[in-house]
């Protein structure tokens, strides 16, 4: 069926704008019907892939979290025993999981504000502070974002190495002794956080630069003319106008950090003595090293609920209350 023939009465007038409004509904039906069909045809590839590789797993994870899904069930998935909420009950008595929850919270609570504040400062510096070689600086600060986490985690592991590492060497030159960053329970997590800030700063910076450039120059000029100093301008004008960007940057950084996996996997394997074991890493181990897949699914859902909860909370707290 072609477009032209399917439009009865449409040919007589070049642009039927429905001016009279007297067109009977029956005449419009085939057009709307075909539009619907075409819309759905264009949506089909995405929706099919979404259904199989996202919607189905979301539901399947929930189902698995109520079973004792183990290694034998990979061959016969429907053979898994239903165990009710046993996995969830066990989870909250699980010392290791509680440690993983704590570590993940530590990573987020320390890492997100550091990343967002430093990202904002760098954006202000590059957008307002300097006027030449901006692109050069921007490229430099953004570069870590595009690189493989695995590769840079390996590099950082070497930089922080207690015997041959750069930091230990520089400290020795100054007559100090650097701690064994990744080998000490106290220093391992701060080291991972530092690396995450280094790697994700660029994303936040780019968002804030775009936000800053969307603020009309006149607004700032007006603030200046009214006698606002640089600090006042920042606090009373710039930051409030950046609120949507701040919200977006905080939310995406938080979601990313709650899922933290690669850094501890490569740099510390969760150690020393579980000091850097995160929820994702704990889930990976339970699921793929021990094949406690039902139990790991329960972990995945707890993490998902935490992520949703934190996101909703942030949207509530940080959204514009002045309107």
């Amino acid at each position: 069926m072609s477009l032209v023939t399917g439009r009865p009465g449409g040919e007589a007038v070049p642009k039927p704008r429905r001016a009279g409004g007297a067109r009977p509904p029956a005449a419009r039906a085939p057009r709307g019907g075909r539009r619907n069909l075409q819309g759905w045809l264009f949506s089909t590839p995405f929706l099919a892939l979404f259904g199989v590789f996202m919607l189905f797993p979301i539901v399947a994870t929930l189902w698995m979290s109520f079973t004792d899904f183990g290694v034998r069930d990979v061959r016969r998935p429907l053979g898994a025993q239903f165990v009710g909420v046993d996995n969830y009950v066990k989870l909250f008595g699980d010392e290791t999981f509680r440690t993983a929850l704590f570590n993940t919270a530590y990573f987020v609570v320390a890492g997100v504000p550091l990343t967002v504040v430093l990202g904002l400062l760098v954006a202000l510096l590059l957008n307002n502070g300097i006027d030449r070689a901006r692109t050069f600086f921007r490229v430099g600060f953004y570069a870590p974002v595009v690189t493989s986490i695995v590769a840079v985690a390996i590099v950082w592991r070497f930089v922080l190495d207690p015997s041959d590492g750069l930091v230990a060497g520089l400290a020795a030159e100054l007559g100090a002794k650097a701690p064994d960053f990744l080998g000490s329970p106290a220093w391992a997590m701060p080291s991972l956080i530092l690396m995450a800030v280094w790697r994700n700063l660029g994303t936040v910076m780019v968002l804030f630069i775009a936000g800053l450039q969307a603020i009309p120059t006149q607004v700032r000029e007006a603030a200046r003319l009214d006698g606002a100093g640089a600090w006042q301008e920042l606090r009373r004008v710039t930051v409030p106008l950046l609120r949507p960007t701040l919200l977006y940057a905080t939310v995406i950084t938080t979601i990313g950090y709650l899922n933290v996996f690669e850094e501890p996997f490569v740099m510390t394997q969760g150690g020393p003595s579980n000091a850097t074991l995160t929820v994702s890493l704990d889930m990976y181990r339970e699921g793929f090293n021990f094949f406690h897949m039902g139990y790991a699914s329960a972990m995945a859902y707890v993490l998902f609920v935490v992520i949703m909860g934190v996101t909703v909370l942030q949207l509530r707290l940080l959204k514009d209350n002045t309107r």
């Binding site: 570069a143 690189t147 695995v150 630069i209 775009a210």
Partner: protein, 288 residues
């Protein structure tokens, strides 16, 4: 995209005093950001003596390619490179097609259920990958797709981010243009393929870069979905090698730096050449 803010006289005046300080600050920050990369690049060419020297040696006292040679002996890097490349190319091609198709439908076709489909896209943006990998692994092993390219590509063949990006860009294509083509008898596919896609080339470029990079750097799913070392992608091979307790420790850091350099360098070069697209892409996805 707006141009950097116009200069304000007041700012220029005080800039004379402060500017050197601000440049020094920015340069210092940049140095800190670049240090791990410099250390990696230089260490990849160091001899064993230089690698373990105290105080640390920045510039190799003797440049050597031995780390690369040893690495290639222990790891089949060309093969992992090919695996990563094939997966990234396939993922990118699928995303370009499928995301633009849905982006077009959401931006330009007024069909019943459109807002629901868009809701699905937005919801898909929020779903963390960790929630999916357990049943995905079971599904893929039932389908016999573990250790295959299809198994690595399919879960990433149509990302919600891409749909969102394409929809934003396609909204700016004037409706009159499409209406005119429809009156001339063009079908929706023709309009999509011949009229709309050529008009959103910048968006396609942005999507290509982000999807390719995302796939190139992807780690968790390839780690789960490959058991056969012959099917490892670069990050999986490198991480497995780095965590292998049997790896010879002496000179190991040199090999690891050489491997990291091989993974990171192509990406950094592409990034520097195409940097404009990166910053614009993020800003578009974040603010519109």
């Amino acid at each position: 995209m707006s141009v950097p803010t116009a200069s304000v006289p007041a700012r220029r005046r005080e800039g004379r005093v402060r500017r050197p300080v601000l440049y020094a600050l920015a340069s210092l920050g940049l140095l800190v950001m670049a240090t791990p990369f410099l250390w990696m690049a230089l260490s990849a060419f160091k001899t064993r003596q230089d690698l373990t020297a105290s105080p640390p040696v920045w510039i190799p006292s003797q440049w050597t390619l031995r780390n690369f040679g040893e690495l290639l002996q222990q790891l089949d890097m060309p093969r992992y490179f090919m695996n990563s490349l094939v997966v990234a190319v396939l993922v990118t091609a699928c995303n370009l097609l499928f995301c633009s198709m849905l982006g077009y439908a959401l931006a330009k076709l007024d069909f019943a259920g459109r807002s629901k489909v868009f809701g699905v896209v937005l919801a898909a943006l929020m779903v963390p990958g960790n929630l999916l990998i357990l049943p995905l692994y079971v599904l893929m092993s039932r389908l016999g797709l573990i250790d295959t390219y299809a198994g690595l590509v399919l879960p990433f063949a149509a990302g919600a981010f891409g749909v969102f990006l394409m929809r934003q860009f396609m909204k700016s294509v004037p409706d009159e243009l499409l209406e005119a083509a429809r009156i001339d008898g063009a079908g929706e596919w023709y309009i999509f393929w011949r009229i709309v896609l050529p008009l959103v080339k910048p968006a396609l470029a942005t999507l290509t870069i982000f999807t390719f990079l995302g796939s190139w750097n992807n780690f968790v799913w390839p780690l789960v979905a490959t058991n056969d070392p012959g099917k490892y992608t670069l990050p999986v091979a490198l991480a497995t090698f780095a965590n292998d307790p049997n790896r010879t420790v002496a000179g190991g850091n040199g090999m690891l730096m050489a491997g990291s350099l091989l993974v990171v360098l192509p990406v950094l070069v592409v990034f520097v050449v195409l940097q404009r697209h990166f910053t614009q892409g993020i800003a578009t996805a974040g603010l519109k």
